[in-house]
Amino acid sequence: MKVLVAVKRVIDYNVKIRVKPDNSDVDLTNVKMAMNPFCEIAVEEAVRLKEKGVATEVVAVTIGAKAAQEQLRTALALGADRAVHVETDERVDSLAAAKLLAKVVEEEQPQLVILGKQSIDTDNNQTGQMLAALAGLPQGTFASEVVVEGDKVQVTREVDGGLQTVELSLPAVITTDLRLNEPRYAKLPDIMKAKKKPLDVKPAADLGVEVQSRLTLLKVESPAERKGGIKVGSVDELVDKLKNEAKVL
């Protein structure tokens, strides 16, 4: 079966972000970018399904400016067979991303679509669920285990009180949680080979989707700074401060 994996180019998770002085957005100039960590887990799961003989082809897809092809090449180096780049310079919100992905799903007809549960820039946690709704497919969100059996997939989900297992009919959409797997590193020969793998570029405008968002970003601010605290010298002093100064005990 064919597996489609959606990946996103985001700011590297180790970077300490800065808000622009005019409060219009976060400053992304000259900042290290990388594949969203949850997307790495999605690619890894797709490649493992291929290695197990469950998947026959893994297609990576991304939406964004030309630079996002870097992340598609990473996915190819990790084991994806080919890539699709939906190219746009617009800011794409989750709904528009889901609509564009739904077009790709319609064209590619994958049996499984795997996404990360959220991207670490907008922290929305929406695209997978929205794609499932638009494509009319069942969803297995926050997956920590995925088992394909015939025309069904069993997904163990990380929910607030513990774990929940659901069975979905295929085709289905899955979003990955952190504990689904440990993503591998791309090896140098694979990075070289990935340069030769097919990468298909589709202008977003050709897919007939309105990407204009009905959400307007009015302002981006730094969160209120915590004022520096003090170090105490002993447990007695700590308990005393908590009781008499902070009054939380």
Partner: protein, 308 residues
């Protein structure tokens, strides 16, 4: 304006999160209805009807809504949403699973993890792991919103709203509930606890987390963990506090053997008072801690327990 709040419930009990979401609905203003959907949810509906500020409780009691699977729940909500200007749920795993699906079915954007209401169209929400706060205005006629519960104080429970049945029954042929394994705990729920004590990689082992038990008992605290402690297999992952775990904002947060990575801080930096206990005096956690104690946690924890 009229607002529909999706009630959160587990094991036949209304979850505390719902009272926080109703508070967010009050901040928006308008009539507030609460939807209780599930199987055998009479008691949940009665509890929801007592929440202050609720106009009406709508109950969809049917086997298809058991375990609140995303497919039937979103179909139900999409059908009911027509009469409302806002649909709200807690930013719990249940709310996050269902609401984006509702938004897409209604062709509107969703606002996730809203922590402040500016006006009925404009909201504040954290981005980049809480390192920036975005103010976002929605031009959609229907606003679909998940609420960060720690951003709103829970409403009281002295109301008496009317309860009515919703007869809508949707079909679900796509997904089936198989099982759940819930972590057992006698302690307060992490999200709603007044005091949280968390252990990190510095705890050394799962066995050593027992050192936190006595302190947690004395303070009535919930026990949490950093991602490093979860990944090391010390404790189950539903104890994780952080960007990818639970977001908490208790009155007192005690971080033990936690270095203070961005990922972890995103989950607890809105706590009122933060205490850090760590042997590394340069650990990042000390930059956000109100009170820091540098030293060996294996000596400090027993002493702290004896002195509380």
């Amino acid at each position: 304006m009229s607002i529909l709040v999706l009630a959160e419930h587990h094991d036949g009990q209304l979850a505390a999160a719902t009272a926080h979401v109703v508070a967010a609905a009050q901040a928006i203003g308008g009539d507030i209805d609460v939807l209780v959907a599930g199987e055998n949810v009479g008691a949940v509906a009665d509890a929801a009807a007592k929440l202050d500020g609720v106009n009406k409780v709508r109950v969809a009691d049917h086997a298809v809504y058991a375990h609140q699977l995303a497919e039937p729940m979103s179909a139900l909500l999409a059908e009911l949403a027509g009469g409302y200007s806002h649909v709200l749920a807690a930013a719990s795993t249940t709310g996050k699973n269902i609401l984006p699906r509702v938004a897409a079915l209604k062709d509107v954007a969703q606002l996730s993890e809203v922590l402040e209401v500016v006006d009925a169209d404009t909201f504040k929400r954290p981005i980049y792991a809480g390192n920036a706060i975005a103010t976002v205005k929605s031009a959609d006629s229907l606003k679909v919103i998940t609420v960060r519960t720690t951003g709103f104080d829970a409403v009281g429970a002295s109301g008496s709203a009317s309860v009515e049945n919703v007869d809508t029954v949707v079909e679900n042929t796509q997904s089936t509930f198989l099982k759940q394994e819930l972590a057992e705990s006698d302690r307060p729920e992490l999200g709603g606890a007044r005091v949280v004590i968390s252990g990190g990689r510095g705890m050394g082992s799962g066995e050593n987390f027992k050192l936190l038990d006595g302190i947690a008992d004395k303070l009535g605290a919930a026990i949490g963990a950093s991602r490093a402690a979860v990944d090391a297999g010390f404790v189950p992952n539903d104890m994780q506090v952080g960007q990818t775990g639970k977001i908490v904002a208790p009155e007192l947060y005690i971080a033990v053997g936690i270095s203070g990575a961005i990922q972890h801080l995103a989950g607890m930096k809105d706590s009122k008072v933060i205490v850090a206990i760590n042997k590394d005096e340069d650990a990042a956690i000390f930059q956000v801690a109100d009170y820091g104690l540098v030293g060996d946690l294996f000596e400090i924890l027993p002493e702290l327990e004896s002195k509380l």
